[in-house]
Structure formats: structure tokens, C-alpha cells
Amino acid sequence: MKAFKRYALRLQRKKYLVRAWRKSRALRVVADRTNAIGPQDVLCFCTLRNEKVRLKYFLSYYRDRGISHFLFVDNDSNDGSREYLAEQDDCSVWTTPESYKRARFGMDWINRLLRLYGHRHWCLVVDPDEFLVYPFSDTRPIPALTDWLDASSIKSFGAMILDMYPKGAITAQPYEEGSDPFQIACWFDPGNYVIQRNWQYGNLWIQGGPRARTFFTDAPAKAPALNKIPLVKWHKSYAYASSTHMLLPRGLNLVYDEWGGEKTSGVLLHAKFLDTFSTKAREELERRQHYAASAEYKAYHAGLSENPDFWTKWSERYINWRQLEILGLMSKGNWA
């Protein structure tokens, strides 16, 4: 890579950091328990708006897997999410009424919190509907993974978003607070993903899955990106460039092997398509706060009212991480 291109990326990274500082001035502390963070703790960062119904399961899922502290940015919820989180002993909460879109879809806020609290910690950045599955996730907590990554001098861990959906109309089975969403949305597409390389940032760009085949058949290039790098040994000079799809410096994006081998990787199970989705889609469509003029939500809205069923006879029912490994959706790499 040419020197000036490298320098341009450096400037861009600095710009993101300054921008994060600027945008974060709108954050107001609701509960700050960051003093309780220990030096070895794995932290979870999350932006949300009106996700109360999901939070109970989200917290218990990640607590069970060894996350020590949660840092939330609440974007003006009015369903009690903020109050609920503020009561939790292991959560720190900030809130802001500012535009989600103008904070680069919340990334500016998160970048700022990462810089302030994530330095030298393993940091997991997820949405409230994303659940990390990694090799041996049924028997080993996330700190086992991060210890191993540390020992291997690996700084970032890649995971692909896997859209989970129920069989039949998504409104058929209502989701109850605290229950496992994957009891309802337990199906996924095992093998219809396409990958391209993003040469500028060095990351992979993955598209496909049920959303692409249902809503984007005519414009596959517009289908949402599924590649994510949610777990990073953070340094204060790092910055997420676009959602958690890619980072700067670009070396962190190299979570894949280029010489035929497989690196260790995971999957983010995406519990988006529950009965809560239609309401959410309608709301987001009105707010116009999502990526690419909410094109995704427009497509969902149109698609879901016509044909609300993602299920095909080739859908796989989720069992465990080993199944995902065999299907080639994630890899143990050399972690045994």
C-alpha cells in the first residue's frame, strides 16, 4: 500500500477519534460504575433504543459467558430500558437524545466510550439482538477465548452475522421477556453467502442470507453487510470505521487467513426477526435514522407485509456451535 494512502487512513482514524469526542459531548451519565472495572475484565459496549424486552436475556447471556461490565448508550428510550439498565450492578449507562444517524449510527458514541474505558481491555461491541457464538462457547467462557487470543498475539476476533428467523410468519410466536429468542427464531441459511475483499480497509465484505434472498434479489449489492469484528483488544488509538464491520488501523481487519488456513472465528446470532420486528421496522422507517436512508427497513417493510416467511426447505435448525463449525460458518482454527 502506498505511503500516502496509509497516511490518509491515519488521518481518517484521527478524524473519527475527534468526531467521537465531539459527538460524545451530548452523552449524559445515567449510571457510572466504571470504577468497578478490573484490569482483566472483558467489557461489553452496546447502543440501544427501546429494547427493554430483550435486555434481560441479553444480560444473562453475556454474564454467563464471563462479561464483567456492560457499557450502554441509550438513545432516548421511552420504554424503561434506561431505568432497567441503571439498576443493574454491572452496567454503566449514558443517554442522549441526539440523532443516531448523525453519530454515524451510534459509532461515535461507542468509539468515545471505548477510548475512555476500553483501553487494554478485550471489548465486545454488539447490538442488543446479537449473541456471540464462538468455538467451545458451550464449555468455555469468553475470557478463555480472550486469554488464548492474547497468548497468540491476536488482537481482533471476527464473527459473521447469522440472521435467525422462525418458521412461518414472524408474528406467529410472541417473544417473552427473558426467554431465549432462539427458541422461536431457530432457523438460518447455511450456505448462500458471498464474500468480497475491501482492499482499502483490508476487511472482507460478506452479504447473503435470508435478507438478501428475500428483499434484495434485484439489487444484491445493496444487501446488508454481515461481516463483523465485534471483539477487540482495545487500544485508545483504535476506532471503528463503519459500524463494527471494520476498524482502523486496518491490520485489525485481517481476521481471515489468506493462505488457505482457517483462523479462529465466531458467529453473531442475530435475533432481529421476532414479532417485535414489524413494530420496530415501522418506527425506524418513520425516524429515518438508519443506514442508507433506511433502505433496509423500507425493503423489510415492503417485504414483510407481502411475505413474512423466510423459511425454506433448505433452512437449517440451530443446534450448537459445532453445527455452525461443520457447516463452515465459523472455525475453531487452531484453538483445540
Binding site: 467451545f136 464449555t139 468455555r140 467462557p141 475470557p143 478463555a144 486469554d147 488464548w148 497468548a151 497468540s152 471476527g158 464473527a159 459473521m160 441459511d189 447455511p190 450456505g191 448462500n192 453467502y193 458471498v194 464474500i195 468480497q196 475483499r197 472482507l204 460478506i206 442470507g209 435470508p210 438478501a212 434472498r213 434484495f216 434479489t217 434485484d218 439489487a219 444484491p220 449489492a221 461481516n227 481476521v255 481471515y256 487467513d257 489468506e258 493462505w259 488457505g260 488456513g261 482457517e262 483462523k263 479462529t264 472465528s265 425454506t312 426447505k313 433448505w314 433452512s315 463452515g328 460458518l329 465459523m330 472455525s331 475453531k332 482454527g333 487452531n334 484453538w335 483445540a336
Partner: protein
């Protein structure tokens, strides 16, 4: 007093080290512990306090230890000297680390050693015969000097190694030293160990080894060859290394694997693996048989991990495996067949082939309107959409996904000049592709179509151009597919023989001769059709030398019914 003593080198997770030391000490085995100087004073004091009640636990002077340097050998030397001096009853000294965990009761280990009182257990492999090391330096470990830390001064380390290589520097080996390498975790007899530690030449040898790369894997391993009576060249400590030479870590879910290994001690254990520590640091002898350690039982798991990390699964493209071109170890996951022009010439060729092979046979999956999956399904394995736009967005991944999603089930599909041609180069370069081509077969469909001749002529020109391009791709010097090409004229001379030759080369197709032939399109009048194409200035050359009507070739008499050969 026990005849077995332990030397422990600790630097992290001291509470676990304390647990293990206590386990051994309470079972009457003296333990001498070296704690890395880099551990904070307060933590070290806590650690000592934790073990203060045990009188057969000693601590040596703390040295600053760094991986790959002489300091580790020094630490083990001083600890071993202390152990031998303070506990005269000790016959075997076992070198362990703070992240080791005993897997079998100490009594069993003692009994095992007591039965072999003069045997030294140390992996010691001569570097001449075996590439023991992982990555790079092997005999250069002994032939170059390594004064710089690899961990802290990587640049100096690399530059200095490079410099020595360039100027051809070679160190002189001391007399009587035959370099050997092996795992740094050993169990030596008092006799051998004292011989090494009290060697009159010890200073000279130390001077040599202190500049060797990773001396803790070579110092004892080399010198033991000069003194030991009986060497068992294996470590009693189960320790596995990955492709970067870093030890594999054991977790709670390895419990059964570790039990089955019958090894005495394992390394390294994840400090938070509570279940392992709780299970193995007890006295209930779950296995009180005198089994030989069998680390091989575990090997399979770890060698598979190595294979997965370095070679990966052929034909898989995913978010942590995206090989550069030509590094795929197989562009696709399994062999598959491509039939070009066959369904133009034969009627219901897919159906016939499917019956014949007993597998799924697709139509033209690269059809410009939509992917013709078997049975014209709207989606196929893995959730692939039949949408042409989706497919053409990334035709390579469309194909690799089909093959990956149907592993274990051979795939065949039709192809032709009417299809989207972008996949051509990929097919040609894929060694899993078996491509059979009948050139000029597109003319048969044109002949049978009810269209204006001007349109036919135009389309014929287009199809021929595309076909020539495809055939040229196949004939490219870089193509690696299994390729058969016939012109239409050649093919119909001996259709059954030719089909048979394809099926013979198809893995999994049973070896029986063909009995049922596919129905061929009616070709009477075809020669005249070709002639009129020629007369219009469009030479259908890829058809080959098609015989004129009434000459050599006569289509089978009853073309509408399958016929039998043999």
C-alpha cells in the same frame, strides 16, 4: 521421605501454582519453587505465605526470566541444586511449571519411577535427524549467537541473525557436545542431574549454552547424553504445541481427554479451569492401574487443529478463510461434472444422467433468466436463490457454495453458450471440474427452432463466438480441470462410446456399461441447415466436419426409442 522431588518454575497464576505445590508437598514430595522476578513483591509474599505451613516447600532466589533465554535454565539449575542438597532422599527430580497439573495420583508416579530407578525421562532428539522445532531455526540454534531477546528486541534479534548468516559465521561446538533438542519438562535421576550440575566443565558449557536460542530446550537435553545410563526419550509431562510453537492450553472440556491420556502431568492448564483443578487435585484414585502414559490419544485432536489452521477445508470460503488466488488447496470442495452442449443434442439429458448416476443433475444453472436447479426449484441447498441477479452478483461463490453445501453428493450441471459466461475461467482452473464439451451443439437447437433465418444466423454467430471463447479458456495453459472436447460431428459418430468414456472417468458412477441411451434430437436435414448457414456467410466451424446427408453418417434408425448396446 519421598524419593521424588519437584522443581516448579512459576510466573503467572500463582494461586494455581500454590494449589499444585501444596498437593505435592502434602503427599510427601519436596517442592522447590522459583518465582519469576517480574512478579510483584506483594504477590510473591502472598504466595509464600500461602505455602508457609509446608516444611518441605522451599523457594530459590528469584531471577528475571524471559522466554527463550538462558535465565530459565539458570532458574532450574539453582532450584535443582537446592532440592538435591536439602532433600538427600530424593532420587528423581521432576521439572514442572506453575501451570502444570498432575493427572494421576503422586503414588502412581512414585511407583512408576521406583520401578525404573536409573532411568532419565527426558525428550532428547538429535537435530541431525529430526526437524523437531516448529518454524525456522533448527541447527542454527547452536551455530549462531543469540544475545538479543526475541520478545523485546525483535528487530535486533532478526538483524543479528541475518548478519551472521550473511557473513557465514558459525560457532564452534564445545568438545563432546552433540546437539539434542526436546521438551523442556523432564524428570532426571539424582545421578544424572548431579553429573550435569557438578561437571568440571560446567562454566565452559554454560558459556556456550547461554548464547544458544531457547537453551531450556537443549541444555539438559544435550548434556544428558553424556552422563545418563538409561534415557527414555520422552517427557512425562503432556504438552502439546501449536503451529507457532506455543503450547496448547487445556480447559474443562478436556477432562476426559486428559484422563484417557494416562499421563502423569499435563501442561498448560487454563488457570480458571476449575473443574480440572478440582478433579485432579484430589486423592480419589479414579485410575489406579499402572497404565503407561499414552499422549498419542490426545494427538489426534491437536493435529486436526493444526491442519485446520494451516490448510483449512478445501472449497470453503468464509469470514476467517478467504484464500488468495491459487492458495485454496482446491477451489471447490468436491468433484463435479459440467456438460456443455449435451442437453442441446439429447432430449431430457438431465433426466437420463440423473437415472444413470443416481445423483442430482441440474439444468443450466447459469441460465441468464434464472438458475435451473434440479426440478426447477426456487432455492437450493444452503438457501441459494435461483435469481439470476443474485447469482451473477458473484458467480464463483454461487458455484463454490453449491459444491460446499452438497458435500458428499456429486453435482452435475448443464452449461452452454446461451448461459452467463462469467464462470468459464473459474471452471477451467478448478481441478475438481470435469468438463465435457460438444462444440457446435447449439446449432441443433437453432435447427429445431421455428424462427426467421436471419435471426438464426445472427444468433448462431453470437453463440459460436461465445463457445470459441469458452473452449479457448479451457485450452489455456493454466486450466486444471478434467476436460473432454468433441465437435458435434465427432461426437455423434460414436455417442455411446463417448458418453461411456465420460462416465468411466466419473467417480462414483458404477462401472456397468451403458444400457439405456439418451434420446438424440432428430438430425435429419441438419446437414442442409448447416449448409444454408454457410451459404449465408456464417461458417458453423465448431460443429466440425458434419457429414452431408446420405453419406457416412446415418442417425439411428429408431431415434425415438432408447436402444441397447451389448
Amino acid at each position: 521421605m519421598s524419593s521424588l522431588g519437584f522443581v516448579m518454575l512459576c510466573h503467572t497464576a500463582l494461586h494455581r501454582a500454590a494449589q499444585v505445590a501444596r498437593h505435592w508437598a502434602e503427599r510427601d514430595c519436596p517442592v522447590v519453587i522459583h518465582v519469576d522476578r517480574q512478579v510483584k513483591r506483594s504477590r510473591y509474599d502472598d504466595f509464600r505465605r500461602e505455602l508457609a505451613d509446608l516444611e518441605n516447600v522451599r523457594f530459590t532466589k528469584r531471577l528475571r526470566c524471559e522466554w527463550g533465554t538462558w535465565s530459565l535454565v539458570q532458574a532450574s539449575q539453582s532450584a535443582a541444586e537446592l532440592l538435591l542438597a536439602e532433600f538427600p532422599g530424593v532420587r528423581h527430580v521432576y521439572l514442572a511449571s506453575g501451570s502444570c497439573l498432575p493427572l494421576r495420583p503422586v503414588d502412581e508416579l512414585q511407583a512408576y519411577l521406583a520401578a525404573r530407578p536409573m532411568t532419565d525421562f527426558i525428550e532428547s532428539v538429535t537435530i541431525r535427524d529430526v526437524d523437531w522445532t516448529v518454524g525456522g531455526l533448527n541447527d542454527e540454534r547452536f551455530k549462531l549467537r543469540f544475545p538479543f531477546s526475541w520478545k523485546r528486541h525483535r528487530f535486533l534479534f532478526d538483524t543479528y541473525v541475518d548478519l551472521q548468516r550473511r557473513v557465514g559465521y558459525r560457532r564452534q561446538l564445545p568438545d563432546g557436545v552433540v546437539p539434542h533438542l526436546g521438551s523442556q519438562w523432564w524428570c532426571l535421576t539424582r545421578q544424572t542431574l548431579t553429573a550435569i550440575l557438578q561437571d568440571p566443565r560446567r562454566r565452559e558449557l554454560e558459556r556456550f549454552f547461554s548464547l544458544v536460542w531457547i537453551p531450556d530446550e537443549s541444555y539438559y537435553q544435550t548434556l544428558v547424553r553424556n552422563y545418563a545410563r538409561t534415557i527414555e526419550s520422552r517427557s512425562l509431562t503432556l504438552s502439546k504445541f501449536d503451529f507457532q510453537g506455543k503450547p496448547h492450553v487445556f480447559y474443562d472440556d478436556h477432562l476426559h481427554l486428559l484422563r484417557r491420556s494416562d499421563c502423569f502431568v499435563a501442561r498448560k492448564i487454563w488457570p480458571k479451569a476449575n473443574r480440572l483443578y478440582n478433579t485432579f487435585l484430589t486423592d480419589d484414585a479414579a485410575i489406579s492401574r499402572m497404565a503407561e502414559p499414552a499422549p498419542g490419544k490426545i494427538d489426534r485432536v491437536f493435529s486436526r487443529a493444526l491442519e485446520r489452521r494451516t490448510r483449512g477445508r478445501p472449497g470453503l470460503y468464509m469470514h476467517s478463510r478467504f484464500p488468495n488466488p491459487d492458495w485454496e488447496n482446491g477451489k471447490t470442495a468436491a468433484p463435479y461434472s459440467v456438460f456443455h452442449g449435451f442437453n442441446d443434442l439429447f432430449l431430457d439429458f438431465e433426466g437420463w444422467l440423473s437415472r444413470r448416476l443416481g445423483t442430482v443433475v441440474h439444468g443450466n444453472i447459469f441460465d441468464p433468466r434464472r438458475a435451473r436447479f434440479a426440478g426447477d426449484a426456487p432455492t437450493y441447498a444452503g438457501g441459494l436463490s435461483s435469481s439470476a441477479t443474485m447469482r451473477d452478483y458473484n458467480p464463483e461463490h454461487f458455484l463454490t457454495s453449491i459444491i460446499w453445501n452438497t458435500r458428499g453428493e456429486r453435482q452435475s450441471f448443464m452449461f452452454g453458450p446461451r448461459d452467463s459466461q462469467k464462470i468459464g475461467a473459474f471452471l477451467a482452473a478448478d481441478s475438481n471440474a470435469q468438463i465435457s464439451v460438444i462444440t457446435g451443439a447449439w446449432a441443433v437447437q437453432l435447427y429445431l427452432s421455428n424462427r426467421n433465418f436471419a435471426d438464426i444466423r445472427q444468433e448462431a454467430a453470437l453463440l459460436q463466438r461465445r463457445e470459441v471463447e469458452f473452449v479457448n479458456t479451457l485450452r489455456h495453459v493454466k486450466s486444471r480441470a478434467d476436460i473432454r472436447i468433441w465437435t458435434l460431428a465427432e461426437f455423434i459418430e460414436e455417442p455411446m462410446e463417448n458418453l461411456q468414456s465420460i462416465l468411466d472417468a466419473t467417480e462414483g458412477a458404477n462401472a456397468l456399461r451403458l444400457t439405456e441411451a439418451p434420446r438424440m434430437a432428430d438430425l435429419s436435414g441438419f446437414a442442409a441447415f448447416l449448409q444454408s448457414l454457410k451459404n449465408q456467410g456464417m461458417n458453423p466451424m465448431t460443429v466440425g466436419d458434419f457429414p452431408q446427408e446420405g453419406h457416412a453418417h446415418r442417425p439411428p434408425v429408431d431415434r425415438n426409442r432408447p436402444y441397447l448396446v451389448n
